[in-house]
């Protein structure tokens, strides 16, 4: 469990390299130690075989020397061993084991069990054995009998040892040969092989590790770069892509991942875009709502002012009737008196005073009538079909001279497809005149006033509307004044130049027509007034009113 945990925590590279290296080292070591064992075995067997060959030959050669106890001959025989480096010791003894001659130095303390190391005639095998001397050096010892053959049936030549077919002979042991070989060379060869094998193993393992490291690097490098990009993406940074050109599974993974990041980025952008739009929409809607609220407040205010004006006008008309009537009445009488001979001297003065009173009373009458028009309670019975383009043309003829005197040009563009509307042409002309004269007062010399008409056809539940636009390049209206311009008696003109009723009367007239007046102005750049008049379908307005409602409309 812990090993698995440990493995899980390793990097991909370590996961590849460590187990493979361990397995490789183990298998190479196993294989080479097996081969080494085989080699050592081979060496020993080779040594055993060569030792046996040599001792057989020696035994054969020594036969006569032993029989005849010819020591010199035997010495010569043993001396032939000098050519072999691995011979440590050799001896020839007679049948009683008395040593006749020897060669080399016998290793001290070599443990030998002769019982097992005599020649086995049945197998014709020369037994050998390994032993160690007191210095713990290893030796290989051979014992071999020196034999002679005797003819049993016929008399045979003693030198004839080769068995004749069918011939009978006995073998008699005449002495012993002992040969001890060094194992140094074998050990050396074995340890040489071991060193070589170890070096090869280490080199192979190191090379394998390096190769694996490179190979694993080739595999893990793209994964690493993929991991880096993944890391960035997980932190919300979609700017980078996995740049892998390879066509293998990792390349495929990278391109799939890139596509995923693409679509993620796109989704994120869409969401952000949607958020921005939403914010923008909220801002727009809020502004719209604020504007509508302002319009509501404005129209409520104007309607309240209208009601007030109507009340005031009603209360003023009676006394004004008295003033106007009596001044006229008295004036007529004074004029008659003047024709008499005994007329008072000051009568002309009185006539002038009363004329002034009458004139001013008439002026008051006009103001009150304008106030009443603003209050929307003017009569709507004299409405008829009106061609708005004709109204504009009539107005143009009416104001053109005045504009020309002020060096102001009037540009008129009329829509050709205007339907007629139900309204009062005279009143609409009054509105338009008022707007153009106001524009003229605000405009500098050599500027242009644009007047044009256009038609918005009905759309869904909205009925169609005609718009009359009057745009000037004049001084504009300050924002704080923009809400007040329709209020009665509000004026920015010099005292005596305007009553401050023009726009409020226009407003009342347009309200009577079911329309509205909109204004857009930038100080220093000019103002644009838009008169919107609805195009209603002919609806028969009932002339008869509810009698109870009529009864309610009496003075309290």
């Amino acid at each position: 469990m812990n090993l698995r945990k440990l493995l899980n925590n390793l990097t991909l590279r370590a996961k590849f390299i460590i187990p493979i290296s361990i397995l490789l080292a183990a298998s190479v070591t196993t294989i080479s130690s097996y081969l080494l064992d085989r080699q050592a075995d081979g060496f020993r067997k080779e040594l055993e075989a060569s030792g046996e060959t040599r001792i057989r030959m020696l035994a054969h050669s020594a036969e006569s020397g032993v029989i005849f106890e010819n020591i010199y001959e035997l010495e010569d025989i043993l001396n032939t061993l000098a050519q072999f480096e691995d011979v440590q010791f050799a001896s020839i003894s007679d049948v009683e084991n008395s040593i006749l001659t020897e060669f080399g130095t016998e290793p001290a303390g070599l443990v030998v069990d002769h019982r097992f190391h005599s020649y086995d005639r049945d197998t014709d095998k020369c037994n050998d054995f390994y032993g160690n001397d007191i210095n713990d050096e290893e030796f290989l010892e051979f014992n071999y009998p020196i034999e002679t053959r005797k003819e049993e049936i016929g008399r045979e030549n003693l030198g004839l040892t080769a068995g004749l077919e069918g011939g009978q002979y006995t073998t008699e042991t005449v002495g012993h040969l002992r040969l001890i070989l060094q194992l140094d060379k074998v050990q050396e060869a074995i340890s040489d092989s071991m060193i070589t094998a170890t070096v090869i193993t280490i080199v192979v393992v190191i090379l394998t590790i390096l190769g694996l490291a490179w190979f694993v690097g080739v595999i893990t490098k793209p994964i690493k770069s993929l991991v880096e990009v993944t890391d960035q993406v997980s932190r919300g940074d979609f700017s980078k892509r996995a740049e892998l050109k390879q066509q293998d599974e990792i390349g495929h993974l990278a391109s799939t991942f890139n596509r995923m990041v693409d679509s993620l980025e796109q989704s994120r952008d869409e969401i952000e875009e949607y958020n921005r739009n939403l914010e923008q929409k909220i801002i727009e809607r809020t502004l719209e709502l604020e504007e509508i609220q302002q319009q509501l407040v404005q129209s409520e205010k104007l309607s309240a002012i209208g009601q007030l004006a109507a009340g005031v006008a009603h209360e003023l008309n009676n006394p004004l009737g008295g003033i106007l009537g009596y001044s006229q009445f008295t004036l007529e009488k004074l004029k008659k008196f003047k024709e008499r001979e005994n007329a008072p001297k000051d009568i002309d003065k009185f006539i002038r005073y009363l004329t002034d009173i009458e004139t001013q009373a008439r002026r008051c009458k006009t103001i009150v009538q304008n106030l009443l028009r603003f209050s929307r309670s003017s009569r709507t019975t004299d409405f008829e079909d009106v061609d708005i383009n004709q109204v504009v043309e009539d107005t143009r003829t009416f104001v053109e001279h005045q504009l020309h005197m002020n060096n102001i040009e009037l540009e008129v563009n009329l829509s050709e497809s205007l339907p007629v509307i139900h309204g009062n042409g005279g009143q609409l002309q009054q509105v338009l005149t008022n707007l153009i004269i106001n524009a003229m007062h605000a405009s500098p010399a050599d500027s242009i006033i644009n007047v044009f008409t256009r038609y918005s056809p009905p759309l869904g539940e909205f009925s169609g509307a005609i718009e009359i636009i009057v745009a000037d390049q004049g001084t504009g209206i300050s924002p704080e004044n923009l809400n007040k311009i329709f209020e009665p008696f509000f004026t920015t003109k010099m005292v005596g130049k305007g009553t401050g009723l023009g726009l409020s009367v226009s407003y009342g007239i347009i309200k009577d027509h079911g329309g509205e007046v909109k204004v857009d102005s930038v100080e220093g750049e000019g103002s644009t007034f838009v008169v919107v008049l609805p195009v209603k379908k002919e609806s028969s307005e009932s002339d008869t009113e509810d009698s109870s409602e009529i009864a309610n409309r009496q003075e309290k």
Partner: protein, 125 residues
């Protein structure tokens, strides 16, 4: 000359019309509100009625409807201090005209002359 009834709750208008019409030689009587006007118009004989629209108790339109229901030939001149459909309705039902206050003496004179020329024309027929 003619007998004329003036129905108006406003004193200055009653006075003005009385003075002016008497100056012209007519006999004038006044009523101070709608009901007063109806009572007088129905109980006395007049040649013409000046009748205001906005009055207490009965408005001018009601006066006109009630009186003209019984005396269809009696000419009515409506007077009006505020543009109102009631005056138009009275005119459309047969009242002679409507004078918007403040009216001028010329308007009064014209309206009267129209009535009396019409009357004389009717008589002469």
């Amino acid at each position: 000359m003619a007998r004329i009834l003036i129905v108006d709750n406003c004193e200055i208008i009653r006075n003005l019309l009385t003075d002016f019409l008497e100056e012209l030689g007519h006999t004038v009587e006044t009523a101070i509100h709608g009901q007063d006007g109806i009572d007088k118009a129905l109980n006395n004989e007049y040649d013409a009625v000046f009748c205001d629209i906005h009055m207490p108790k009965k408005n001018g339109y009601q006066v006109y409807v009630e009186v003209s229901g019984k005396k269809a030939a009696l000419p009515f001149i409506m007077t009006d201090s505020l543009p109102d459909d009631l005056a138009n309705m009275a005119v459309s039902r047969g009242a002679h005209t409507c004078l918007s206050k403040p009216f001028t003496l010329e308007q009064v004179r014209t309206a009267l002359s129209e009535i009396f020329i019409k009357d004389t024309a009717d008589e002469s027929r």
